[in-house]
Subunit: 233 residues, 2 copies
């Protein structure tokens, strides 16, 4: 029983002690959003059950990897019967915080800000975008995807008054820290930073996720180089 | 001697046998772009030497991790003297394929395509953007960051005639595969895919790097949830 509790409780941090917490493998955490994405697509295609073998084929990882990753949340898979997609999707959504219903603002209404205002990635992860902010008076007062673009000077007040927990930064590198500090002081608890710099804050309770798109380009160039060298051998 | 060769040759695939190749740790590959980014910033700030201790502090990883990561490329670091930033940056650039000088097109001139046409991330990684492509006649014929926006029907011919090796996809999900196939048949050897789907091609020589921005959002939500639960304990 204790063993089962430990397994199914791996991602249930309410039950966790500090010592247990560190047992959650970052590799599993990294892989979970991908499961969430694939399971979401299966659900939208009206699939309700899937075997670890088929999931393995779609996702390009081994079936044993899948069983290892998913079984640590409890016994969703039954031999010869497969996973219940909806249940698993719901469980992973819960574990990942999708059901928290965070409210977000996007700061920076340039091309990237506009692109992010228009993707489906937010609602699929339970995040509601409420408004955009910018310094440019040509865009302030306009609407993007039915959201108002507001003056960045009103950012702090807006976050407090509208219970904003999540901020997306697409501002220039030099402005990122200042904007992030305003948000952190106004109740924002998580920042998704596209400013292409390693953002740090003195507020330990604010989680920062730095996105570096250039790192993908770099990895691609590396793999292309290796592939060419292999062909030339 | 054999031992030294093996260490310094880890990323030198010309010397590698198939067996050795698999020894390159994906974790090290993943970390290299980050070193490249930090070293590039130090160079732009006109710094020329750095100790593993200082680099460790800036990058937020342990000094022993840094020594472990960087020493496998050969003995750049000297006790008490630090790393030669320019040499290390050049070496990592070479290892990562930055010096290959790839030529790229961006397919999809919407908000994300425009944002990518304007970032510095390409030139910093040795990639030259040559043109954008779209289906929309309102943008075809315009220029973005001094690059022409061309008709996607001319994509194949353009890639062949202009020696394009790298394609960036910011098209809708449903169009991604078709566009990727045109590029693959026209000499493109690497695709950076922002279409938010797992792109696969039958051409084994074409490297595909799928970017999923939503996964960052998901990870952030997860960490925010955990952090809240910790505070509530």
């Amino acid at each position: 029983m204790e063993h089962i509790d430990k397994l199914s409780g791996t991602f249930d941090s309410k039950k966790e002690t500090k010592a247990q917490k560190s047992e959650v493998s970052p590799a599993v955490i990294r892989r979970l959003p991908r499961y969430h994405r694939y399971l979401g697509e299966l659900l939208r295609a009206e699939r309700y059950r899937i075997s670890s073998g088929e999931l393995s084929e779609i996702m390009g990882v081994t079936a044993s990897q899948i069983r290892q990753d998913l079984n640590c949340f409890g016994g969703f898979g039954q031999q010869g019967y497969g996973y219940n997609i909806k249940y698993l999707y719901g469980k992973i959504s819960e574990l990942l915080g999708v059901v928290e219903g965070y409210r977000a603002v996007i700061v920076g209404a340039g091309n990237l800000g506009k692109a992010l205002a228009q993707t489906h990635m937010f609602e699929r992860r339970g995040v509601t975008r409420v408004a955009l902010f910018d310094v440019n008076h040509e865009v302030i007062g306009t609407e993007i995807n039915s959201m108002p673009v507001l003056d960045v000077r009103d950012l702090g007040d807006f976050c407090r008054e509208n219970d904003i927990q999540l901020g997306v930064l697409t501002v220039p590198k030099d402005a990122a820290k200042e904007v992030a500090e305003v948000m952190a002081k106004s109740g924002v608890r998580g920042i998704l930073n596209f400013a292409n710099m390693e953002l740090t804050l003195d507020e330990p309770d604010v989680i920062i996720e730095n996105v570096h798109l250039g790192d993908y380009l770099m990895k691609l160039c590396y793999e292309m180089k290796r592939s060419r060298e292999d062909r030339e051998k």
